[in-house]
């Protein structure tokens, strides 16, 4: 053995690795380097590659040769030592220090976090069953109604809830002088208008654009404060107008207006109503159910909606339960992890953030500059959430390990089968889906789904005090293993 390895674990789950390298090995490597060098340099009196070691040593100097050799040795020696020690590595190892002669290399290796969940099995919690109220179903039904509404022009003054087609312009009034337009270059965002509509034919006169908060031609506006961004004051002015009417009016936006730029401000509007349309909701009957899809009767639709809502709520509740349990466990647990693990987590977050940024068409470097930030600063911003992510992740992992939850082949098969149930008439599609779920990404997805389901079930069992005894589980597992043999 040519390596003398010392390891020492510190309290932060870092392994301090000290490797002493046998001098003979260094010497051998130096000769190799020299031979390689001899092929490249010209020494008078010698053909290339025929220069003896001593001559090269003289020529390049012992220190240089040694340094060069060690440079090349570090990586393979590190790998060799890792193989021998075989720690559970987590994150990037760092090279700390070295002594040249004799050669001693020092590394810090981050180890897998150690998690002690404590007496999490004592946690109890009331689990409330998912309950879908009739109101929720009714609301969903209303949404279905709105989706199938009929719009019809009517010859009557506009009323609340109608759809009004109008053209016109609205400008903010400045308190100092009520003289509209002309020159005002006080900063004022124009976002409200530009963000609003696509069919805006943008009257591009030289008026100060920044004051214009409304400038539309032929636009349909719903007279409903929940749907229209201009809010109730505007709608109140429109109500009562008929097609062909023109009106100029001033409104004051309330102080608590959702658009902060507008809150408390006055604005002049000049609009002409082109058309008033009534929105007629279809009756709640079997016809609507048929329109919506594969339903025969309204009751069927209602049941389907309820089921849908229940599924949604259940999934949410499931998630909440898991997250909540992790929160509780986090309080009890003791987690020790190396600082490098956090860095690794940040790396991951940065990578996905970078991906997002580049996908939206930015160069990463430009983006960072634009934010007036450095990558370092962004990293720091991520640090806190990275720590949280890491801790939660470790808790969940340890829970799964402690509870001996595993994903078996038949579990995955069952999950796939369940997924494919909905596509019972398309065999070809089913087959390709099955292939997808049995390999690579699809498989990862389905197995993580399975494990989360199992986690949820077990958590529920623990919280209600019905968890199976761990020792019994272990015994059963062993028995099963014996049987297989």
């Amino acid at each position: 053995m040519t390596l003398n390895i010392h390891t020492e674990e510190n309290e932060q789950r870092e392994l301090k690795l000290t490797i002493e390298v046998d001098e003979k090995r260094v010497e051998k490597a130096m000769r190799q380097t020299a031979r390689k060098l001899g092929r490249e340099i010209n020494v008078p009196g010698f053909r290339r590659g025929k220069v003896p070691y001593n001559v090269i040593l003289r020529r390049v100097g012992k220190e240089t040769l040694r340094a060069e050799t060690i440079d090349e040795m570090v990586q393979p020696i590190f790998e060799e030592a890792m193989e021998e020690v075989a720690p559970e590595v987590y994150g990037r190892s760092t090279f700390d220090d070295m002594e040249i002669e004799p050669l001693v290399l020092k590394f810090t290796i981050p180890l897998a976090p150690k998690v002690d969940l404590g007496d999490y099995r004592e946690l109890r919690k009331e689990i409330e069953p998912v309950n879908i109220t009739d109101e929720a179903v009714t609301e969903a039904l209303e949404q279905v109604q709105t989706r199938h509404q009929q719009i019809e022009s009517v010859d009557r003054p506009a009323a609340a809830g109608d759809l009004v087609t109008l053209s016109g312009r609205g400008e903010l009034i400045w308190e100092e002088d009520d003289d509209e337009d002309e020159d005002e270059d006080i900063e004022k965002e124009g976002e409200e208008t530009s963000a609003e509509s696509d069919d805006d034919t943008a009257a591009d006169d030289d008026d100060d654009y920044n004051d214009v908060i409304f400038d539309e031609e032929n636009i349909d506006l719903p007279l409903d404060p929940d749907e229209l961004y201009l809010g109730a004051p505007f709608i109140n002015e429109i109500i009562g107008l008929s097609a062909g009417d023109d009106k100029a009016f001033t409104i004051t936006f309330p102080e608590d207006f959702h658009e902060k730029e507008l809150a408390g401000r006055d604005a002049d509007f000049e609009i002409s109503v082109l058309d008033v349309k009534e929105r007629e909701l279809p009756a709640l009957d079997d016809e609507l159910a048929k329109l919506e899809g594969d339903y025969e009767t309204l009751d069927e639709l209602r049941a389907a909606l309820r089921e849908q809502l229940e599924k949604q709520a259940e999934a949410e509740a499931k998630n909440e339960l898991i997250e909540g349990m992790i929160d509780d466990m986090l309080e009890k647990a003791e987690i020790v992890y190396p600082p490098a693990a956090v860095e690794a987590e940040i790396d991951e977050m940065i990578a996905s953030y970078k991906d997002q940024v580049t996908r939206s068409g930015w160069e990463w470097d430009d983006f960072v500059k634009l934010q007036g930030n450095s990558e370092e600063a962004i990293r720091d911003n991520f640090r806190e959430s990275a720590i949280e992510r890491l801790e939660r992740q470790q808790i969940l992992r340890q829970f799964i390990l402690d509870e001996r939850l595993t994903v078996e082949e038949e579990d995955v098969d069952a999950a796939i089968k369940k997924r494919l149930e909905d596509f019972d008439d398309n065999d070809e599609f089913k087959e390709s889906m099955r292939k997808y779920f049995n390999s690579g990404y699809g498989f990862d997805m389905i197995s993580s789904e399975v494990i989360m389901d199992k986690t949820h079930d077990r958590m529920t069992a623990i919280l209600t005090g019905n968890a199976p005894d761990l020792e019994a589980l272990a015994a059963a597992e062993e028995a099963a293993a014996d049987e297989e043999e």
């Binding site: 008078p44 009196g45 010698f46 053909r47 025929k50 220069v51 003896p52 001593n54 001559v55 003289r58």
Partner: protein, 99 residues
């Protein structure tokens, strides 16, 4: 002719060939003053490296050569004297000192 012993040995000759001679026959090669003879080389070596004994000295006058400098201008490279010194077994010289 009187030449100071320090001026006899100009420099050691380190080439592939001379390296082999050291390795195989314990013979060391030097570039020496062209006017010197075997006896003087022997003395000079023994004075310069007091703990070695010279067994035998062979000398050779290396011919002058034409060398080309730039493209076509030829220059004469003067000749020199080579001495190959055989040491008694076990003795050695660190040839590369001061190269």
């Amino acid at each position: 002719m009187q030449i100071h012993w320090r001026e006899i040995i100009r420099r050691p000759l380190v080439t592939e060939k001379s390296s082999y001679l050291v390795e195989l026959y314990n013979q060391y090669s030097f570039v020496v003053d062209s006017r010197s003879n075997k006896m003087q080389v022997k003395q000079a070596v023994e004075l310069a490296w007091p703990d070695v004994t010279v067994e035998k000295v062979r000398v050779a006058n290396m011919p002058a050569k034409r060398a080309r400098r730039w493209r076509s201008i030829t220059v004469r490279k003067s000749g020199w004297k080579k001495a190959v010194v055989t040491l008694s077994p076990g003795d050695s010289i660190d040839l590369f000192e001061g190269v």
